[in-house]
């Protein structure tokens, strides 16, 4: 995988950019200061800069933002918060309390990623306007790896603008979906304001693709089967870091492990089908052991050389191998007993080969067994999408069972899922047309722009057919030496977004692709380089608004190999179906 990866640009520069920006904000409050950070921002700040950097810019103590204010120690406190009511109320309460005992303390509030207008209004209402100094910190894309960028935040416009500023104007653009189109509009508006010199720079990125998550909800709903995807589903990967629980690390405390291509073992297994991972690990472990065993027959000179050079690497390898083997084991043991049935049900629904009556019955049983809500809804949503929507009557039947098992309050959750088109119900008089209101929790997580999703209640199956997402059942897909993108789902389904990008990169774009995209919700915008100007290098940037799964990332990595293109994938965040669903929950 190394060949296309080394092509061209350095994404690490993005981290430096964000880090510099953070430093500038900190220096706006010169001198010693205490930092009080919104818990939801910690992971992201971690990825941008270390504690050392913060300390070198005057940060003395760091606290997590909680209801009660931490002790006042230095003359300045800097709050880093999201524009969200609860953290802001906390901050306001802190300031009021601290004012009584420490009238001299200076307070700065850094709002991430945007200092939106109502935040200022809120502070004004609290009587704090002018009493605190307001700042804004907008992080750029954060490189999680050479080929994976994440915003961990929802402010796309400036982030993509920065990319164009750094790497030159991207000649080929394909954007699909309403939000995607808006991003392009905003980009162009911003680009035109920028210095025109930048635009003359030779582009380092040849292709830009922008998609909404709603182009393909089926992919996140399916159970992931690549190692990285499985890790994310079981332990959760946040900003490129997994926290392995105690039984995996074999210590008393859970351990945070960064997952990226710098770890060669991980780089080799992350995209493999889970079924093949432990075999690979065992083979490698044997090799390492054999090498270590050789040491016993070495001469003293050889031995000295070995200890000086190889031993450390081998030991590190052994530790990593052991860790991942243990992770595999833990995952395998925690697989539900009916995992095979579940997988069979999912794939049967997607390919249309399965008996949907049987699937319905299976889902009803899962609901009656009170499996986790996200698990149940994930399967239910998959059913409704692949059936091109269920009838209102059937919806009432399913939903009442869900509500009995998980609480009537989730009527609200189901309503939101329907508004988003993840739960597809045909002929539903009770969900109003257009983007109706109240999708707050999801919007916090999604890009603000993705909130306006078109209604979808039908047409998935024809879309899958037009885009050829369901592979021919007679052609076996090699799961362990994959050549086909659908290997990420056992050859049952090809994730739509990588498929479309692949078609475009392999010259199967043009009119037929445009026609095919019409079946997906939203409109398509395409720009091509003007005649005579360079088409740009074979480097593609794919942006997915509203969350990207590791199954898709794996498909993109395979696509990068087969199409000899360096593909950099960027998203608001990496996600799983469970996360997608639970982001709609109220509590």
């Amino acid at each position: 995988m190394s060949e296309p990866r080394t092509l061209g640009l350095d994404v690490e520069i993005l981290r430096r950019l964000s880090s510099d920006r953070l430093v500038r904000v900190l220096e706006d409050a010169p001198g010693a200061k205490d930092l009080i950070i919104d818990g939801d921002l910690m992971k992201m700040l971690d990825r941008i800069s270390g504690a050392t950097l913060l300390r070198s810019h005057g940060v003395e103590k760091m606290y997590k933002l909680e209801r009660l204010p931490p002790p006042v120690q230095s003359g300045q406190r800097v709050y880093v918060v999201r524009p969200s009511l609860v953290p802001l109320k906390y901050v306001a309460d802190h300031v009021h309390t601290d004012k009584l005992n420490h009238p001299d303390v200076r307070v700065h509030i850094v709002v991430v990623p945007r200092l939106v207008s109502w935040v200022t209004a809120l502070l004004e209402e609290e009587g704090l306007y002018g009493a605190v100094t307001l700042h804004e910190f907008t992080p750029d894309f954060i490189p999680l790896d050479d080929d994976l960028l994440s915003l961990e935040m929802t402010n796309f416009f400036r982030a993509i603008n920065t990319l164009q500023g750094l790497y030159g104007r991207i000649p080929n653009v394909l954007a699909h979906g309403r939000a995607a189109k808006a991003v392009i509009n905003a980009l162009q508006a911003l680009t035109d304001r920028n210095s025109p010199k930048k635009m003359l720079q030779t582009p380092e990125i040849g292709h830009l693709f922008i998609f909404d998550r709603d182009a393909d909800y089926v992919t996140p709903l399916l159970t992931q089967l690549t190692y990285e995807g499985v890790i994310d589903e079981h332990f959760g990967i946040k900003a490129g870091v997994v926290e392995f629980p105690t039984d995996v690390v074999g210590q008393d405390a859970p351990r945070k492990v960064p997952l990226n291509s710098k770890d060669t073992i991980y780089d080799n297994i992350r995209n493999r089908h889970f079924a093949g991972v432990s075999n690979y690990l065992i083979t490698r472990a044997r090799e390492v052991k054999a090498k270590k065993d050789q040491a016993q027959t070495m001469t003293t000179g050889q031995m000295r050389d070995f200890v000086a050079n190889e031993l450390r690497t081998l030991q590190a390898l052994q530790t990593t191998l052991g860790l991942h083997l243990k992770a595999c084991e833990t995952i395998t043991n925690s697989m539900p007993r009916d995992f095979e049935t579940r997988l069979g049900t999912e794939h049967g629904l997607v390919t249309g080969a399965g008996n949907s009556g049987k699937a319905r019955k299976y889902i009803k049983n899962c609901i009656a067994r009170m499996l986790p809500l996200a698990t149940n809804l994930r399967l239910l949503c998959l059913l409704t999408l692949t059936q091109d929507g269920i009838t209102r009557r059937e919806y009432e039947e399913f939903s009442s069972q869900v509500l009995m098992a998980h609480g009537y309050k989730h009527l609200v959750t189901l309503h939101h899922l329907r508004q988003l088109g993840i739960l597809a119900v045909v002929d539903s008089p009770s969900v109003g047309g257009g983007g109706s209101g109240s999708t707050a929790p999801l919007q916090d997580r999604f890009a603000q722009v993705t909130s306006l999703l078109p209604k979808k209640g039908s047409g998935w199956r024809s879309a899958a057919k037009r885009l050829k997402l369901i592979p021919d059942a007679d052609e076996p897909v090699d799961l362990h030496n994959p050549t086909h993108l659908s290997y990420v789902f056992n050859g049952a389904y090809t994730p739509a977004i990588p498929k479309v990008v692949g078609d475009a990169l392999n010259g199967r774009g043009g009119q037929s692709l445009l026609d095919n995209l019409k079946v997906l919700p939203g409109s398509t915008v395409i720009t091509s380089p003007s005649a005579g100007s360079p088409a740009g290098p074979r480097v593609a940037l794919v942006v997915v608004l509203g969350g990207l799964t590791f199954a898709e990332v794996a498909a993109f990595r395979l696509l990068a190999l087969t199409s000899a293109t360096r593909i950099i994938v960027a998203s608001t965040n990496t996600t799983t179906g469970a996360q997608l669903i639970s982001s709609v929950f109220q509590d």
Binding site: L85, W118, M404, L411, H415, S430, G437, S438, V525
Partner: protein, 514 residues
């Protein structure tokens, strides 16, 4: 206008943004004449200035300073267009930049439009007394003059909406106060909507909301679903539910309003208040016939919550129920789901009479469970207290409602446990039941009974082996008539145990194929 011209105008394009920044800066020394003039005449372009321009030339008196302004205007509006205009939204920005003047800032206080009044006074003087038409023109001119002068007031000078929106987008200071005409507000809102930027849209929506009457606001929002959505999200973020519900209702979205009202009713902590709020919500928000299903759910919620409060009331101080002491309650049952409540009742009130608040049978009759929900929950709830009911014990739980239930109980009276077993088989995936039972520590004899319900003998055998349920294995071999296998399996069974005896018996008496 070409880039070069633009640069000539500004000196260099690169300084343009910084000049914009300085616009808000008291101490900066940017010359405003050209700039403000540009916008000024842009506003005049709509109606007033074009008209006045004509009138002036009629009078035969060239007005150099006005033309120079006009020149600037054209130049400037083009400049503006070049910056703002983007493919795709071209039409829009053209529409928007029409009729919009420019600018805020203290600078304008010191800057007076010196030439206008003098000029027009003189033209007035010339025209006087010559013709009737002229006096009409004069009237018009004096009106236009007033309007033009008014437009110099800094509150009335407005940036083109696209510019203001871009400023919001870029995080630069901006002011919306100057957008006072309804058209301007709409143009501003639509410019924000074009960018899809949440902050910009919300700022413009709130500006409109604060400055126009409610009905007008609703009317405009009806045509802009995305703005509506962001506004509702904002109200919810600020915990201003009442306003959001009212807004959605006025907007003609009774379903969204109802769901939000329900959500709001649930935000109160105390269950009594919750019930009260839900009742109120039912009366106020769920009257639409399209919402009958949703209304039913809310009613169920109330019913359940009331029962849960009653259960908690009795169990709270109950020292007579041995189960409560043996298995201390992990949590209050109030606000748990219906199935969790059934689970709880199966744990603690399995033997309670039906009149008891916690009777599982009473609960089962009060709500319309499906059979598999009941069966799964009973199995899991009873297993929690180390009781594993056999299939025939579940008989009374199935279909005990209505005619069908009555018919069912008659049949079952004739056929013993037959109905329960067949219902169980058709309702639950028995394999999964066996997994669940075994995981909860069910004894082998119970497992064997459930294993016997599995149709496929191979599966039955596999599971029995897996869970070391000797009885199940023996039964399977007997029905397979496989003597050899059973004889071999005898080694696994402890000699003298009841299973061992049974197997021995079977070897003697049963019919075998080998």
């Amino acid at each position: 206008m070409s880039r070069a011209e633009n640069e000539a105008y500004w000196g260099s394009t690169d300084t343009a943004p910084s000049a914009l920044d300085n616009f808000f800066d008291e101490d900066s020394n940017v010359s405003w004449t050209g700039y403000a003039g540009g916008y000024l005449s842009q506003s005049s372009k709509t109606a007033p200035c074009n008209g006045s321009g004509n009138a002036v030339s009629h009078g035969g008196q060239p007005v150099p300073s006005c033309t120079s302004i006009t020149d600037n205007i054209t130049i400037h509006s083009v400049t503006d267009r070049a910056v703002v205009d983007i493919p795709g939204t071209g039409n829009n920005s053209e529409k928007l930049s029409k009729g919009v003047g420019k600018a805020i800032g203290e600078k304008l206080d010191s800057w007076k439009p010196p030439s206008v009044s003098i000029k027009w006074n003189s033209s007035q003087g010339q025209g006087n007394g010559y013709c009737v038409q002229c006096s009409a023109k004069d009237n018009e001119i004096s009106q236009l003059k007033k309007r033009l002068e008014n437009s110099y007031s800094r509150y009335n000078l407005t940036l083109p909406p696209d510019d203001t929106v871009t400023r919001i987008l870029l995080g630069q200071p901006y002011s919306l106060e100057c957008y006072r005409s309804h058209e301007d507000k709409l143009a501003l809102l639509d410019a924000a909507l074009n960018t899809m930027d949440g902050s910009a849209i919300l700022a413009t929506v709130l500006h409109m909301k604060n400055t126009v009457k409610k009905s007008l606001f609703i009317k405009e929002m009806q045509e802009r679903p995305h703005a509506t959505q962001l506004y509702v999200t904002y109200l919810k973020k600020r915990h201003n539910y009442a306003e959001a519900i009212d807004f959605l209702r006025l907007l003609g979205k009774p379903d969204d309003a109802a769901i939000l009202a329900y959500e709001f009713a649930l935000t109160s902590r105390a269950p009594e208040v919750k019930v009260k709020n839900m009742r109120k919500t039912l009366d106020n928000s769920f009257t639409d016939p399209n919402l009958s299903y949703e209304a039913k759910i809310v009613k169920e919620n109330i019913k359940l919550l009331e029962r849960q409060m009653a259960i908690d009331e009795t169990d709270h101080n109950d020292l007579t129920n041995p189960m409560l002491t043996k298995y201390p309650r992990a949590a209050n049952i109030v606000d748990k789901s219906l199935l969790t409540t059934l689970y709880y009742c199966c744990m603690y009130h399995w033997d309670s009479v039906e009149s008891h608040a916690g009777s599982p049978m009473a609960l089962r009759k009060a709500h319309s469970f499906t059979d598999h929900q009941v069966l799964w929950t009973i199995l899991r709830g009873r297993a929690r207290v180390n009781h594993w009911p056999l299939p025939n014990e579940l008989d009374s739980w199935l279909g005990s409602k209505g005619l069908l239930g009555a018919l069912g109980s008659i049949t079952s009276a004739f056929s013993g446990a037959g109905k329960a077993i067949s219902t169980l088989k058709s309702t639950l995936p028995i394999e999964q039941v066996v997994h669940t039972l075994s995981a909860s520590g069910a004894p082998a004899n119970v497992l064997a009974v459930y294993l016997a319900l599995i149709d496929s003998i191979d599966t039955r055998l596999k599971l029995a082996m897996n869970y070391k349920c000797h009885q199940g294995v023996i039964d399977a071999y007997i029905s397979q008539k496989d003597r050899d296998a059973l004889e071999k399996y005898m080694h696994e069974i402890p000699a003298g145990s009841p299973e061992y005896l049974k197997a021995e018996n079977a070897l003697k008496s049963a019919k075998w194929k080998n």
